[in-house]
């Protein structure tokens, strides 16, 4: 998946993004970080096709059915059980209902939700709902996964467990991922490559970092790796420079 020189403007105003390019090689986990409001979500929406870019192009080697999408505030149908919610996406792709329900149970089990198949979304916790939403997407066996701060609404402990489950699944299935996050630690421990977006408007990619931590990883082992600390510091100072630099510039 490749984004080339993407520019986006809302309502014909000054472009939010200008000439942003990035690449997600097959089977790699790529993160996009940047100051809030810089246009990370806009870029992701352009990649998905939910937002038409002013200029630039999107190349995706996969069919529509092979792309999975997970947003922060993804909602489940409240009137369908966890199992039915997961099965729904499968039936949209032509899987027979019986088969879809079986695969849904398997996907829920992979996310540690055995015994919750027949619960309605309002009758489970926020962390469990998030897992159902992830199972819903992973059940479709996507080759490419777009995620926009999917874990942001979870509290720290639940979040660590859900992220761990996702990283294992992604590694096992060899899924290519583009993750938007503002959590630098999460970006480093999950990714093979991290792109840093500049402060908008006219935001563009200012840095690309390779993460030299071997796979398979766990969140703990990634954080304990000697490369983690220096990379975190580098990202942190580049990001701070970007934010404070722009503030200083604006003050002149």
């Amino acid at each position: 998946m490749r984004l080339r020189d993407i520019s986006i403007s809302y309502g014909g105003g000054e472009p939010v993004l200008e000439g942003a390019s990035l690449e997600v090689p097959a089977g790699k986990f790529v993160s996009l970080v940047g100051p809030s409001g810089s246009g990370k979500s806009s870029l992701l929406r352009a990649a998905i096709g939910l937002q038409k870019p002013l200029a630039g192009n999107v190349e995706i080697e996969f069919g529509r059915a092979e792309v999975g999408i997970l947003f922060q505030d993804d909602a489940l149908l409240p009137w369908k059980t966890a199992r039915e919610n997961v099965a729904l996406g499968l039936t949209f792709h032509g899987v027979k209902r019986e088969q879809a329900l079986r695969e849904a149970d398997a996907a829920l089990a992979k996310m540690g939700l055995q015994g919750f198949e027949n619960r309605y979304p309002r009758h489970i916790s926020g962390g469990q709902r998030k897992r159902v939403a992830i199972a819903q997407v992973l059940a479709l066996k996507p080759k490419l996964l777009f995620m926009d701060e999917p874990f942001a609404s979870l509290d720290a402990i639940v979040r660590a467990r859900v992220v761990q489950d996702v990283v294992q699944l992604v590694e096992r299935e060899g899924i290519s991922v583009l993750l938007v996050t503002h959590d630098l630690g999460e970006a480093i421990s999950l990714s093979d490559t991290i792109y840093l977006l500049s402060q908008g408007p006219r935001a563009h990619i200012i840095q690309k970092y390779d993460v030299p931590i071997p796979r398979p990883r766990s969140l703990i082992s990634a954080r304990a790796h000697p490369a983690y600390g220096p990379l975190y510091q580098k990202l942190w100072s580049d990001l701070s420079l970007e934010v404070t630099g722009k503030v200083a510039e604006a003050a002149e």
Binding site: F92, H93, R122
Partner: protein, 251 residues
């Protein structure tokens, strides 16, 4: 004093019985004018009389027929107009001011007009119950569809669902749940419409009996009818509550 909330019903019933006993005693002692305040035993007597003479059934039938007919028609038309208005902005432009006006006035003032238009038979009562319910349901459905959870729509779309999937899995269940959660109000409106319609001009129905009792200064019959109407509406509330609970298990 600490009150056990679980025992509230005992206290409520005991108090009610006490009030009724005092009321009854005051009546028997000649302290109340039976023309204004008949004693509980007289009211119950009037109620029993209605049923033992069998005269009540034709009236109950008339009121139920008008209320349920108006309810069904009102829901049907309210849903259809609400959906059409939500889908076609031009229709919404036309319907919204009319509905807003109808919503702003106490619609029962239309009763005399309907009696002239539709006669003193059941149609004018069905029409009144209908207009009360239809406006309520129209707004429920129209605003409901416009405010349908955008995240659900986006979710179904990104999972690969088309227009039909959106209607079937998002819009239909949303509409159904809004209508169901307004069911109690709608039932109350339907009975109000039927009874008020009968009160204004009719030859049958609980509302007609009320107006008859009023013209003959029969307070015992009037209060008996009020109790009967309350009982009927409570039973229907209970039934629609059961239905709602059953269909909205997910909530």
């Amino acid at each position: 004093m600490i009150l056990d909330p679980k025992r509230a019903w005992i206290r409520q019933w005991l108090t009610l019985v006490a009030v009724l006993l005092v009321w009854e005693a005051a009546g028997r002692a000649g302290m109340l004018n039976p023309l204004f305040a008949p004693s509980p035993s007289q009211i119950i007597g009037a109620l029993v009389e209605l049923f033992t003479s069998g005269s009540i059934w034709t009236h109950l039938e008339a009121t139920f027929g008008a209320a349920l007919g108006g309810l069904a028609l009102g829901i049907l038309v309210g849903v259809v107009l609400g959906v059409i208005a939500a889908l076609i902005p031009y229709i919404a432009e036309l319907l919204q001011p009319v509905m807003t006006l109808l919503n702003a006035i106490p619609r029962v003032v239309l009763a005399p007009l309907f009696a002239i238009w539709f006669g003193i038979g059941i149609s004018s009562k069905v029409a009144l119950a209908f207009i009360l319910v239809a406006v309520l349901i129209f707004f429920t459905v129209y605003t409901g569809i416009l405010h349908v959870d955008k995240r659900l729509v986006e979710r179904i779309t990104t999972l690969g669902g088309g227009r039909w999937a959106l209607i079937r899995y998002v819009y239909l269940p949303s509409v159904a749940s809004w209508v169901l959660s307004n069911m109690k109000v709608a039932v109350g409106f339907a009975f109000t419409g039927a009874v008020v319609g009968e009160f204004v001009a009719a030859s049958r129905g609980l509302g007609y009996l009320l107006s008859f009792a009023q013209s003959t200064y029969n307070s015992a019959l009037m209060l008996a009818l009020v109790m009967l109407i309350m009982a009927v509406v409570l039973v229907i509330f209970y039934l629609s509550g059961r239905l709602e609970k059953r269909l909205m298990r997910w909530n």
